[in-house]
């Protein structure tokens, strides 16, 4: 496997504070209603505890990105480091990528009438910095790694509540949320 940068999401550490999503918004100033990173609460049927658990998701920068495959004007490219970049100037706003991505990563900008999505802050990465979301996370729940070489024991690709797509092979990896410890009174 070639070099492939991917987000590592530690749901055990994530407290659902949305700082990552806000940091993204602060850097890129997306239109109202458009988010490139979203923090999804896990439903009770997956995590039935009083304490909540969250999935912080942006573009997965898939190994085989369906957005790139289905874009009729080749507005998407995949860099050597695996980051999938969208060229908004080339986009004609057909919405094909928006419909195709099962993770909802590309969004239609209603003002520009073009699609847009998370670029993993490749300009920051090229400058040796972390993406804005990773940089801002107060609990260290987000990080990036080259998943082709990193040791990822204990990390999973498809946690509960995350659509499985083996053909796309999304690059995000997750650490499952910790199960709360049950404290019972000793009747004896």
């Amino acid at each position: 496997m070639k070099k492939q940068l991917g987000f590592l999401v530690d749901t055990e550490k994530c407290i659902g504070c949305f700082t990552c999503a806000m940091a993204c918004k602060n850097v890129y100033h997306q239109q109202k209603g458009i988010v490139w990173r979203q923090v999804h609460p896990m439903g009770e049927s997956i995590y039935p505890h009083r304490e909540r658990a969250w999935l912080s998701l942006a573009c997965n920068h898939c190994e085989n990105p369906v957005c790139l495959e289905q874009c009729p004007v080749k507005a998407y490219t995949k860099r050597e480091d695996g980051i999938v970049v969208h060229d908004q100037d080339a986009c004609i706003g057909c919405g094909n990528c928006v419909r195709s991505c099962p993770y909802g990563a590309p969004r239609m900008n209603p003002v520009e009438k073009r699609a847009e999505k998370c670029s993993m802050c490749w300009q920051r990465i090229d400058a040796g910095l972390d993406p804005a979301c990773v940089h801002s996370c107060p609990v260290g729940a987000l990080s990036i790694a080259d998943i082709s070489t990193a040791r990822l024991d204990g990390w999973v690709q498809y946690p509960a509540g995350y659509p499985e797509s083996r053909r796309l092979n999304p690059s995000t990896r997750f650490k499952a949320p910790r199960q709360p410890r049950e404290v019972r009174r000793n009747d004896a």
């Binding site: 289905q70 009729p72 004007v73 080749k74 057909c94 099962p102 909802g104």
Partner: protein, 265 residues
């Protein structure tokens, strides 16, 4: 609920109607005994098909955020179904236009080639609308729906151009297409209910939508009224209305996989 995508509704229904017109005309040419005036497909039929394709393509332009880039949609033929769709429909339109201008290209063999190319274009179009983001549609169903639209609208569009001897056959073809469409459109949402969570949500969205039942009622009424040996003049508007409604629901009601993130799939 998604956007109705009205430009795509108009584009897909009109282009599939044009293909249905060509396919039915080709079928009648093969069925004719040579004495029923079908040695060549009627020139006006080909003009109608070209006009429907052109009107559909024009409507599709309004779906794009930037119409000026429409010509660039052919840039990714190696992997994008939308690029292939443009090529397939463009080739079909060019062949029909050539047929309109040249009588030799409306003979039985050439008409069959146009029909096969048109049906291929419909199937290619269906791949564009079977995206991975919609589990309920990421399969062969868009192809089935689109071919049924061609089969339903084809006889009604072709009937005015067919000789009297072929009118009963057009009515039989319409009744068969309507019956199959009725059954498929009734069964598919029920099948979705047995799928994964997102597919089930799509099935529920259809079965609880009054417009879905209105569409089925129009489909049933069309079937009940499609009697006799000749196509009534009001049949085409009725069929077009139910097909346009059905296509609008096709774009509006399916649930995107990302809607359910955080919950079981």
């Amino acid at each position: 609920m998604n956007s109705m995508e009205l430009p795509l509704v108009i584009f897909t229904v009109l282009s599939q109607g044009a293909v249905g017109l060509v396919a039915l005309t080709a079928a009648r040419q093969w069925a004719s005994d040579g004495g029923s005036g079908m040695a060549q497909a009627p020139r006006t039929a080909w003009l109608t098909a070209v006009a429907l394709l052109a009107l559909g393509a024009f409507a599709a332009m309004f779906h794009l955020g930037h119409m000026g880039g429409a010509v660039r949609t052919l840039a990714n033929l190696e992997s994008a179904w939308l690029s292939r769709e443009g090529l397939a429909l463009g080739a079909t339109g060019a062949l029909l236009l050539a047929g309109y201008l040249s009588p030799g290209l409306r003979a039985r063999g050439a008409t069959t080639v146009a029909a096969v190319l048109g049906v291929t274009a419909v199937l290619v179009t269906s791949m564009t609308y079977a995206p991975a983001g919609f589990p309920a549609l990421n399969n062969a169903l868009p192809g089935v729906f689109f071919l049924l639209t061609a089969a339903v609208l084809g006889p009604a569009l072709a009937a005015p151009f067919l000789p009297d001897a072929h009118q009963p056959a057009a009515m039989r073809a319409l009744r068969a297409a309507l019956l199959v469409s009725l059954v498929i459109n009734l069964v598919v949402p029920c099948v979705w209910l047995s799928g994964g969570t997102v597919m089930r949500l799509t099935g529920e969205a259809f079965l609880t939508a009054p417009l879905y039942w209105l569409r089925l009622a129009l489909l049933g009424a069309s079937y009940a009224l499609a009697r006799g040996g000749r196509m009534p003049a009001w049949m085409l508007p009725l069929l077009a209305a139910q097909e346009l409604l059905g296509r609008a629901l096709f774009f509006m009601l399916p649930v995107h996989a990302s809607v359910n993130i955080g919950n079981p799939f």
